[in-house]
């Protein structure tokens, strides 16, 4: 089961969708997160995702199972790890159900819980040469790494 939900390779969205669609499940809701070019007031050049892989895999499996049980749907999800560039898909969720209410609800649940529970971290490299760990709980949303300008919070 390792490497089932985390991937170092580009996420194949079409294939993710194919895994959940069936002849009886006509509604498919999909969410894609892509790398934005700005964060915390800086211009992002690239970033790296790292994970506590065994726990992340287990947590993703739990979240998918919760959604499938709650909404009677099929769920597929992947989170990219490693080096990503602007516009790359970092996370993808697909949920298919007979009707769209369930598909939307399941898709939304999965992405919300992933962001809350899956141990994945993001290191941002900015065009000004600074580097930071993203931390939604930190003032400003990041911890700038030592040795970079304005590294007051590391």
């Amino acid at each position: 089961m390792t490497s089932h939900f985390l991937t170092e390779r580009p996420i194949d969205v079409e294939r993710l969708i194919e895994r959940v669609v069936s002849d009886a499940r006509g509604g498919v809701a999909v969410f894609l997160g892509t790398v934005r070019n700005h964060h915390a007031g800086r211009e992002v050049e690239r970033l790296e995702y790292s994970a506590y892989s065994p726990m992340a895999e287990a947590e993703c499996a739990r979240i998918a199972a919760e959604a499938e049980r709650t909404w009677g749907c099929a769920v597929a999800l992947e989170h990219r790890v490693g080096a990503l560039g602007i516009g790359d898909v970092s996370v993808a969720v697909a949920a298919a159900a007979p009707h769209r209410d369930e598909a939307f609800a399941a898709c939304r649940y999965v992405i919300d819980e992933m962001k809350r529970r899956v141990p994945v971290w993001k290191r941002e490299y900015y065009t000004d040469g600074t580097v930071a760990w993203v931390d939604p709980t930190a003032p400003g949303g990041v911890h700038l790494s030592e040795g970079t300008p304005d590294a007051v919070d590391f």
């Binding site: 997160g33 995702y49 790292s50 994970a51 506590y52 065994p54 726990m55 287990a58 989170h79 970092s90 996370v91 992405i111 992933m114 962001k115 809350r116 529970r117 899956v118 141990p119 994945v120 971290w121 993001k122 290191r123 760990w133 993203v134 931390d135 939604p136 709980t137 930190a138 911890h143 790494s145």
Partner: protein, 88 residues
């Protein structure tokens, strides 16, 4: 495992930014049983100067499941210290 085995050895993983703070990815901590997650954290703080920058109550996972600081650890456990997650 003999009658005198009253020590527990726990592997501690430092994830992401915490590995940077501590200066290493993992370490092993041996404590007299019974010991809790909090005791392991105490040992880490006394061993690594960088650990003073850890929050008072960091997110902890014991054998891949989230636990609180009072949870007892057992021989061979893996305790991971997790920064606030930032996936998606």
């Amino acid at each position: 495992m003999t009658d005198t085995a009253v020590d527990v050895t726990v592997t501690v993983q430092f994830l992401a930014r915490y590995a940077e703070l501590i200066g290493t990815d993992s370490t092993q901590v041996t404590l007299r049983a019974p010991a809790t997650v909090s005791d392991v954290l105490g040992a880490v703080r006394s061993r690594f100067p960088g650990a003073r920058r850890l929050p008072d109550r960091p997110l902890c996972a014991l054998n891949l499941g989230q636990v609180d600081l009072g949870t007892e650890v057992a021989e061979g456990d893996e305790l991971a210290l997790l920064p606030p997650v930032a996936g998606g």
